[in-house]
């Protein structure tokens, strides 16, 4: 799951990035409004955490641009501005959630989960398909009631496929959700993780669509 973090403060940005990585998100971190705008144009993020007081371009302006371009991704505003007027302006500009500094890392993670869940069209806190259940809060996966042990990458890949049940996910889309900028990616790593998932969840659980990518198998 790939997140764009927009935060101009070096220490705070570093902390949030580390905190999100602990929850196995791939995090891209930019430090000003213009960079945020470009990153949002170039990449498909699952969600964005946006500071408001930014150099070069204000956070609200970034948000309005984003919505004007028809982008649907959930945006969580994370700022020191704590008046009701600020919150109203932020939410009305298109934000999905609003959190003020200082904040609790666990709360930020929970809010992000809720946003991603909603964006995936689900209200239930767990994702399920063909007897496989994934709980994003506890990061537990089970098959027919039996716990399944997955690596962080395998988990992320499965989460992505479950969130896009009806769609074919290309290799590059899956790679994007696995890795943030600057992380080394092997040429066949996605294939390796798919292979492992099939081994643990059943060969029919993931289908290969030749030339296009992967999708979940039909529910049995």
């Amino acid at each position: 799951m790939r997140i764009l973090l927009v935060e101009d403060d070096a220490l705070l940005g570093d902390g949030i990035r580390a905190g999100l990585k602990l929850a196995d998100y791939a995090v891209d971190w930019v430090r000003d409004g213009d960079a945020a705008r470009l990153a949002l144009l170039d990449h498909d993020y699952h969600a964005c955490i946006l500071d408001l007081g930014l150099p070069r371009r204000d956070g609200l302006s970034v948000l309005k641009d984003l919505r004007r371009n028809g982008k649907q991704l959930p945006v969580l505003i994370l700022t020191a501005r704590d008046t009701s007027a600020d919150k109203i302006a932020g939410l009305d500009a298109g934000a999905d959630d609003y959190l003020t500094k200082p904040f609790d890392l666990l709360e930020l993670q929970a809010r992000l989960r809720a946003l991603l869940r909603r964006a995936g069209g689900a209200a239930a806190p767990t994702l399920a398909h063909a007897g496989v259940v994934l709980d994003p809060a506890s990061k537990q996966v089970s098959r027919n009631g039996q716990p399944v042990s997955l690596s962080a990458r395998e988990y992320t890949l499965l989460h992505d496929l479950l969130r896009h049940k009806a769609h074919i996910r290309s290799r590059s889309q899956l790679e994007e959700s696995l890795y943030s900028w600057g992380e080394e990616t092997g040429s066949n790593t996605v294939e390796v993780y798919i292979h492992n998932l099939r081994r643990k969840l059943g060969a029919d659980f993931i289908h290969t669509v030749r030339g296009l990518g992967y999708r979940l198998g039909d529910p049995t």
């Binding site: 220490l11 705070l12 580390a18 905190g19 000003d32 150099p55 020191a80 904040f103 890392l105």
Partner: protein
């Protein structure tokens, strides 16, 4: 200052007014009493003189050469005298004689004054007392009469008249006047009391202007001054409130850093990640401390009206010191010193001026790209002394220039971290030194930030 206070008497406007008005009233009363007394005395004396003249003329009409008749007259007049005189009927002493001065008849105690004096009033000494005499001559010119009264007696009568006329007024007036004055003064000062009550009723937070409409004309200048003061106070308080809010806001980010990094350290399994997060916690704490220190420095500077530790300072030497402190440096820019050899003296606090120069240098190092050249300077140009920092970086967008010294303002281009307080502090220090903190994009590119002493400011 405080020792002078006890010596000063508290001045009550009411007592001052009462005292002055009462004194004036009493003085006026005394003068008018005195005049009335004089007038009454004068009238009484004229009355007495009239009596004297009447008696004299009566005697002149009765005067005769016949010794028998004269003796008769004398005897009858003597019985008159013994009838017991009232205060307003003093004893009549007389001499009757011929025009040539020869005496025909005289009362027993009549003064022995020659009859031949010119007719009219005169005052003589008789039995050790002053007497008033009236000498009359008959129209036919054959007789002369002289009548006299003791002035002492006359005065006693006049005094009595005057006293009866004046004393009641003199005694009653103060009794009537003083309460009247008291109540008038009270009533007159009532608007002032109302005003005082209005002020006293106010809570300490209420800095709204005092109502001018109902206040007495005399208090308007005072009210205007007080309102101006209230206004300034309110502005200052507003500024402080805003500042407190800003300061709290500014501490939020470092606190958020500390919290989030501490949580990351808690959640991290990898030892390296944990160490990194803990190092960041410390960095966040350092930053919160720095912000606090700057806030405290600013808070201590604000109330100062002047400089407590002013001395003579050589700006060239100051620039050399700040420059020397830089080394060893981790700066990615080339930093050089350009300082005049001759001393540039100003009056001020060296430590505070170093804070300014360090702030300017710090900003230049933060905001100019690596490889730029930064120059610390102290110079005399057109008779004006200045210290500051020049760089050959990109400068500051013109929109940002006037806002640079606002507290917590960080330019839109700012990517480096900073509290945004350094220039606000520098501005305050500049004000304390009668110097100007100025920023300028140089025509050939680059940026200059300087502290300049205008020519008129007092040199050492």
């Amino acid at each position: 200052m405080g020792t002078r206070l006890p010596a000063m008497r508290l001045q009550s406007l009411r007592w001052r007014l009462l005292r002055t008005v009462c004194l004036a009233a009493l003085l006026g009363l005394a003068v008018s009493a005195m005049l009335s007394y004089r007038q009454a005395q004068h009238e009484a004396e004229e009355l007495m003189d009239g009596n004297l003249a009447q008696s004299g003329r009566l005697l002149l009409a009765l005067a005769t050469d016949d010794p028998q008749q004269l003796a008769d007259l004398g005897a009858r007049l003597a019985t008159l005298a013994s009838a017991g005189a009232s205060r307003y009927e003093p004893l009549l002493e007389y001499q009757i004689g011929r025009n040539d001065g020869s005496l025909l008849l005289r009362s027993e105690h009549a003064p022995e004054s020659p009859l031949s004096v010119a007719p009219g009033y005169s005052v003589i000494e008789h039995d050790g007392d002053p007497w008033r005499l009236l000498t009359l001559a008959s129209t036919a010119g054959d007789f002369r009469v002289q009548v006299g009264q003791s002035i002492k007696l006359r005065d006693r009568a006049a005094l009595e008249v005057a006293r009866q006329a004046v004393l009641p007024i003199a005694l009653m007036s103060p009794l009537l006047l003083l309460p009247l004055i008291y109540f008038s003064v009270r009533r007159g000062l009532k608007p002032l009391d109302d005003l005082a009550a209005d002020v006293a009723r106010r809570s300490a937070e209420n800095l709204e202007p005092l109502a001018m409409r109902l206040a007495p004309l005399e208090t308007q200048p005072l009210l205007t001054a007080v309102n101006r003061l209230l206004n300034r106070l309110r502005e200052t308080l507003d500024k402080e409130r805003r500042f407190t809010a800003d300061a709290a806001h500014e501490l939020r980010t470092p606190l958020a850093v500390i919290k989030v990094q501490a949580q990351v350290a808690q959640l991290s399994i990898d030892a390296g990640d944990r160490q990194h997060a803990l190092a960041q916690v410390l960095a966040g704490t350092d930053r919160a401390t720095r912000v606090l220190e700057q806030l405290l420095r600013l808070a201590r500077l604000d109330p100062l009206a002047g400089l407590p530790d002013a001395g003579d300072i050589d700006l060239a030497e100051l620039a050399r010191q700040v420059f020397a402190e830089l080394w060893p440096t981790t700066a990615t820019q080339a930093i050089q010193l350009h300082s005049d050899d001759s001393p540039l003296l100003v009056r001020g606090d060296a430590e505070l001026l170093q804070v300014v120069l360090r702030n300017l240098l710090d900003n230049a190092m933060r905001y100019t790209p690596a490889g730029s050249t930064i120059t610390v300077f102290a110079r005399l140009r057109h008779g004006e002394r200045s210290i500051g920092v020049t760089d050959d970086g990109r400068g500051v967008p013109p929109d940002d220039l006037p806002r640079l010294v606002e507290r917590f303002y960080r330019g839109r281009e700012a990517i480096a971290e900073g509290s945004g307080l350094g220039l606000a502090i520098s501005q305050r220090i500049a004000e304390l030194h009668d110097a100007r903190l100025e920023f300028e994009n140089l025509p050939g590119g680059g940026f200059e930030a300087r502290l300049r002493w205008p020519r008129s400011s007092p040199a050492s």
